[in-house]
């Protein structure tokens, strides 16, 4: 029984935190945030990410990776959330998961090594405009010849990606059971003919999103893919988003506590007013629970536990709540300054709201919880 981070994982967290604080602090985030027309992909940051091996965590050792688990990935994702860090790290990791789990040996050899080294920016395109997480949200179709047609929305960092993992309907589409053939994941080089990338404006300036329009674009199928692989990828995406959310929630809370320990109103530190203090205490409980839930969900996927589906839905629901509540409180308890562009609070607030909707919003995940825990009661 060991439900905690190992010493190595703690050291990894500290290392990511320190490096980000030193080389990519909130001033650097602000530069990306304030330049929405830019690609949102600072190369010095990407170089650090590659050098530090933060892309190689899940890559097998034969491709020069560390062959670790999603638990280790979520350690890094939390720190990225805590620093509201821009860039295609999470998208690249997730695309790597697809290749790792559904790709053939040649695909793995071609992709995973460069990906681990930071030589490859990748992303995933799993749903159409307004499409939910799951097969019926997909709005791209694949021909038998591997040509893709359709639209994907909200694709992170499509503008700088060397590789996109695209979910596509095949033939008559997925079966009602949601498994088996009918849906595939495809590797797409976004520079081929038939690919149009259009940036999508979004309030969260710490990330870049785009719509991907495909018209007969040539792509390569991941041979192990199907509806189950899409569900697997969706679960992993949800855990990464949840980890980012708990990281930013913890940071939002910690920064608010620090600010209100010093800020004086009516002759007393604001944080000594019980109404404020008790609300912050409740938020600490919520963030703590969300942290445990994300840790459990990541491990459940690593270990293939039978309750992994439930754990993911619990983790994303709870992380959504913690992210929403702490960032709203961060603004409220900073007073007027927290509401300004000059203050960093809105980075946390806006990033939280993007992530809350990513890979299933709260209502969607709660319905998963209901399906798994109500309908099974005998």
């Amino acid at each position: 029984m060991f439900f905690a981070l190992t010493d190595e994982q703690r050291a990894l967290a500290a290392s990511v935190r320190d490096l980000l604080a030193g080389r990519f602090d909130l001033a650097a985030v602000r530069a990306v945030f304030d330049d929405p027309a830019g690609d949102g992909h600072p190369l010095d940051l990407w170089k650090t990410i590659g050098e530090q091996g933060w892309l190689s965590v899940r890559v097998p050792t034969e491709h020069d990776g560390l062959d670790l688990g999603l638990v280790d990935v979520q350690v890094i994702a939390r720190e990225f959330g805590a620093g509201v860090v821009p860039g295609p790290w999470a998208a690249t990791v997730l695309a790597g998961e697809a290749v790792l789990r559904a790709g053939g040996p040649e695909q793995a050899a071609a992709v995973l090594g460069p990906l681990a080294a930071g030589d490859l920016v990748a992303t995933v395109a799993l749903r159409g405009p307004g499409g939910g997480p799951g097969p019926d949200g997909v709005a791209v179709r694949a021909t038998a010849a591997g040509r893709l047609d359709g639209i994907a929305s909200g694709v992170e960092y499509a503008g700088v990606a060397d590789l996109v993992v695209v979910a596509a309907i095949e033939g008559p589409g997925p079966s009602a059971a949601g498994t088996g053939p009918g849906l595939g994941l495809y590797l797409l080089d976004p520079t081929v003919a038939g690919v149009t990338i259009e940036p999508q404006a979004a309030p969260d300036g710490t990330t870049r999103l785009a719509a991907l329009t495909l018209a007969g674009a040539a792509a390569t199928r991941l041979p192990g893919s199907g509806a189950a692989a899409l569900a697997d990828l969706r679960r992993r995406g949800a855990v990464l988003a949840a980890a980012d959310l708990v990281g930013l929630a913890r940071a939002a809370l910690t920064r608010t506590v620090a600010y209100d320990t010093d800020r004086v109103q009516f002759g007393r530190p604001v944080g000594s007013f019980q109404a404020v203090a008790h609300h912050l205490a409740d938020l600490h409980v919520a963030v703590t629970m969300a942290e445990h839930a994300v840790l459990y969900a990541a491990h459940a996927l690593d270990a293939g536990r039978p309750d992994a589906d439930l754990a993911v839905a619990v983790a994303k629901s709870k992380a959504n709540q913690a992210g929403a509540d702490t960032t709203a409180a961060m603004i409220q308890y900073h007073g007027g300054i927290g509401y300004t562009w000059e203050h960093d609070a809105h980075f946390f607030y806006k990033r939280a709201r993007r992530l809350i909707a990513a890979f299933g919003d709260s209502q969607w995940h709660r319905e998963q919880v209901a399906r798994l825990t109500i309908d099974s009661v005998g």
Partner: protein
């Protein structure tokens, strides 16, 4: 119980409604219209609109005729708010002057102040800013540090104000200044009127999280202010400020209700465009918010009745502030939640542009902070309305 208005008030509404129909361009009502303008352009349009409205006799409707008002009732003022919101007229750019400064001058201004200030304010020829908050003195007004040293017939004012609405476009500012050296907290303050174009006044706009810059910081560096430009007596600023702020209390929130109903309906249209308006869970959440809005309406009718009966609402205005600010903020939390998978985008679909609603959504984060934060309002309700023992 009688929810009908007096014949005079009903007639006023009819006249106003006709005038608004003839004078508000249809494009103003389009959801994205105001968000599509640049800030100066929008300000100029609003200022001109406000001037035309005043010329047509729809300003100061409940002010005495001697001050250029219409001599109407509180009900007529509420009707004005309601009809302006219904017609999607922009909010006044001179709200702070009209709501706070003018009635204060009517009550305790000198004859010269009454004669020189109220008319131009009413006609929107002079835009008045409010300078109360300071860095370090937000909810805690008595902690302010801007100070004026007496020098003959003048004060030399130094200090900084913050969260001043329309600071960049204001002409004059009514502001709290510590005029007695060495005084502390509530003592030794004065309400001074300062020309924002005077030497030594500098303004820096504050950009909000929505990207809009409606607020500003105002810096005073050796600004010379005539001692006569004081309202309510030198050193008597705290009492004057309390009188000034009390004029907010009588304000019914019927205009806010009508405006939030507009937001509710725009949000419903977004939900429909995204295919979410039939979802029972979304319907429950929207209904929960609508319940709070309707309660705000009923409450506003009650407040209006109290005012018309001549009763002082006292600290119960904190109840109104808590209700409207939380109903409004909560409505936009539901907005955030119902957007679905493409909630991160400005345009989740080709025919839905969230620019204006999202700007409003960000704005709602501020309404529980300014004008007395929710925390301050709850303390007032607890101590002054419920009579709970004061915390230390």
């Amino acid at each position: 119980m009688d929810l009908t208005y007096s014949p005079a008030a009903a007639e006023f509404r009819a006249e106003l409604r006709a005038w608004l129909a003839a004078n508000i361009p249809a494009r103003w009502a389009a959801p994205g219209f105001w968000a599509s303008l640049d800030e100066d352009e929008a300000f100029d349009l609003r200022r001109d609109w406000e001037r035309r409205k005043a010329l047509a006799g729809f300003a100061g409707v409940d002010w005495p005729v001697e001050f250029g008002g219409r001599g109407g009732t509180p009900a007529m003022a509420a009707i004005l708010d309601e009809e302006l919101a219904r017609a999607r007229a922009p909010r006044s750019v001179n709200t702070l002057g009209l709501t706070f400064l003018a009635p204060t001058l009517m009550a305790v201004g000198t004859p010269e102040q009454k004669a020189e200030i109220i008319g131009p304010l009413l006609r929107n020829e002079v835009i008045w800013c409010q300078g109360f908050s300071e860095p370090g003195a937000g909810s805690d007004l008595a902690a302010l540090r801007t100070h004026g040293e007496r020098d003959g017939d003048e004060f030399v004012v130094n200090g900084q104000k913050v969260w001043t609405t329309f600071a960049r476009r204001g002409d004059q500012i009514f502001t709290m200044v510590r005029t007695e050296p060495g005084s502390s907290r509530h003592r030794g303050l004065s309400l001074l009127l300062i020309d924002m174009h005077a030497p030594g006044v500098e303004v820096r706009p504050i950009r909000q999280m929505s990207g809009v810059s409606e607020f500003g910081e105002v810096f005073f560096t050796d600004v010379r202010v005539p001692a006569a430009a004081c309202v309510g007596g030198l050193g008597n600023g705290w009492a004057t400020a309390m009188l000034l702020l009390s004029f907010e209390r009588g304000a019914s929130a019927i205009g806010q209700y009508t405006d939030y109903l507009r937001a509710f309906e725009e949000i419903v249209r977004v939900a429909r465009a995204l295919g979410r308006d039939g979802d029972p869970v979304v319907r429950q959440e929207l209904a929960r918010r609508r319940v709070e809005l309707e309660c705000l309406r009923y409450h506003s009718l009650h407040v209006l009745t109290e005012v018309e009966q001549g009763r002082d609402l006292g600290f119960a205005s904190s109840v109104t502030k808590l209700q409207w600010s939380q109903a409004y903020q909560g409505l936009f939390e539901t907005f955030d939640e119902l957007l679905g998978p493409d909630a991160a985008l400005v345009r989740p679909t080709a025919d839905v542009d969230l620019t204006a609603l999202r700007r409003e959504s960000f704005w709602t984060r501020s309404v529980t902070i300014w004008g007395g934060s929710s925390q301050v309002q709850r303390s007032i309700v607890a101590e002054r309305v419920l009579g709970l023992p004061r915390g230390s």
